[in-house]
């Protein structure tokens, strides 16, 4: 049943999020072309000397458009998240809730489906934004030729010089896996925190539920901030006591790896907490208007 739920959730989200990601990629390419145009016109003006009004106007429009598109690309992460949250809200607290909650499916699976599809689209958005920025930095920042070789060289240096040096002090594969795993857990915790705020907002308000959800999110986030700070302070204190003699880079790196691990524990704990709180409200206190 989870697969079927995910299939339908994925379909519902794809309707808006797929065109959005295409738009980001397209916008990125347009911004790249406009920036290249601006740079080239600027260089031509400098070498030829003197510049016409039209050339200046084109440069101004191109530069402005490129900046606006760049801002839009950055804002797309927020739009993606908002669309995912709105899908959750509609499916559970809107009229569609009559369909969702009468399905012969466990409450846990309903939440899992929303969580996994939401995380999937957030990650897709992140990948699309990174690809767009790569295209921009490689193709949109040079006046000589098509490709900015400086950027390519920087990437090459990272893999041929910096990374091998880093392996002397840290276990790069282990740290990479740790970062990815903690990133995924943190994303799950964040998403469930927002979902929880939406659910509680729906419980406390009869009208203006979205506004109530935003208010609840701010409150919950404040609580999470306090818990996280307290937890990590205690952990750092505990780790620090046994690591006062951090003399080598390797010892520092081990200390940091351990701290990252504790962050993972914190995010996992928050994710589990929010999951069960949402489940409990849906199972024991569901009151669909």
């Amino acid at each position: 049943m989870l697969k079927k739920l995910m299939k339908h959730d994925f379909r519902a989200l794809s309707r808006t999020l797929f065109p959005l990601q295409i738009g980001i990629l397209g916008g990125g390419i347009v911004a790249t072309l406009l920036t290249t145009l601006t740079i080239r016109l600027n260089d031509t003006s400098a070498s030829v000397g003197g510049s016409s009004f039209v050339r200046g106007l084109i440069m101004a429009i191109s530069a402005t458009a490129a900046v606006l598109i760049g801002v839009a690309i950055m804002a797309s992460a927020l739009v993606t998240l908002l669309l995912i949250c709105y899908h959750f809200y509609r499916s559970f607290l809107g009229d569609e809730g009559y369909l969702t909650f009468t399905l012969p499916v466990s409450t846990s699976k309903l939440i899992w489906s929303k969580l996994l599809t939401g995380m999937f689209w957030t990650l897709i958005n992140a990948v699309v934004v990174v690809i767009t920025l790569l295209i921009f930095s490689v193709f949109g920042t040079t006046s000589n030729g098509i490709v900015n070789t400086d950027v390519l060289n920087a990437f090459r240096t990272f893999f041929t010089d910096i990374l091998p040096q880093a392996t002397q002090y840290v276990n790069v594969p282990l740290v990479s896996v740790e970062i990815v795993v903690i990133g995924i857990i943190a994303l799950a915790a964040q998403m469930l925190e927002i979902y929880f705020a939406i659910v509680v907002g729906g419980q406390v308000a009869k009208k203006h539920r979205i506004l109530a959800a935003i208010g609840m999110y701010l409150l919950i986030n404040m609580g999470v901030g306090i818990v996280s700070t307290t937890f990590m302070s205690l952990v750092t204190l505990g780790e620090g006591v046994s690591s006062l003699a951090l003399n080598t880079v390797q010892e520092v790196s081990t200390f940091m790896t351990s701290i990252f691990g504790w962050y993972g524990v914190l995010f996992a704990g928050l994710a589990v907490l929010f999951f069960f709180l949402i489940r409990s409200i849906f199972k024991k206190n569901l009151n669909l208007q």
Partner: protein, 232 residues
């Protein structure tokens, strides 16, 4: 006789309002039963609790001897008073959705009913009129081979011709083993199809009888009895 629905000492409170007050009901299998009462009497609340959309304040609800949950949702086919299908879904998407989640969904029956309604499969819900969307929901709900159908005001707010179509659909797709609980205040229209009825007033069941018994013992139609009992 085996019961499909048992409700014991059920109460539901919304703030200071008591929507259902200590309701006890036992419904047999294989009957069409009217849940009758004026607006605000608690009909929708009762159906929503049985469907699992509301949590009761107190009391027990058993559907085919199971407490309301994942298991009972597979047995119940519920038609709410509002349209709940997402606007972006096509008719075909809706059919696929019901096929995916309900093992008892009869696709052939659904297609046949939709063909009679002339609803194109590629139309989105937002492209259909409100009336057609309501019919679409009725088709989906009645195309299931469920044990208990909960129909909340299925004929409210529609023209007399559509009313006849809906009642024909309900009767035409009714399985003798299943029970249909229809909530309405349009008694005259549904009276002819009802085996039993429940009168609900201010959250209390005031009468539960067979329609034949009312006619035989009181010499009145159900509509006349309703008007008498619920006179303002």
């Amino acid at each position: 006789m085996q019961s499909i629905l048992e409700v014991r000492a059920l109460s539901k409170r919304y703030g200071s309002t008591l929507a259902l007050n200590n309701v006890d009901i036992t419904l047999p299998k294989g009957k069409i039963i009217g849940l009758l009462g004026p607006n605000g009497s608690g009909k929708t609340t009762l159906l929503k609790i049985v469907a699992g959309l509301l949590t009761p304040t107190s009391g027990i609800v058993l559907v085919d001897n199971q407490p309301v949950g994942e298991g009972t949702k597979a047995l119940i086919s519920y038609l709410p008073e509002r349209t709940y299908l997402p606007d972006w879904m096509t008719v075909e998407d809706c059919l696929e959705y019901f096929t995916d989640f309900y093992a008892d969904f009869d696709m052939a029956r659904a297609r046949e009913m939709l063909a009679r309604l002339n609803v194109p499969a590629d139309k989105r819900m937002k492209q259909l009129s409100k009336g057609t969307r309501e019919k679409m929901q009725l088709v989906l709900v009645m195309s299931r081979r469920a044990k208990l159908y909960l129909l909340d005001e299925p004929i409210g707010g529609v023209d007399p011709a559509t009313r006849d179509y809906i009642l024909d659909t309900i009767i035409g797709n009714y399985d003798n083993e299943a029970t249909i609980l229809i909530s309405t205040h349009l008694i005259a229209d549904v009276e002819k199809v009802l085996d039993e009825f429940l009168f609900l007033k201010d959250g209390v069941i005031t009468m539960h009888d067979t329609t034949d018994n009312v006619r035989a013992t009181q010499g009145k139609s159900l509509d006349e009895l309703f008007r008498e009992v619920f006179r303002c």
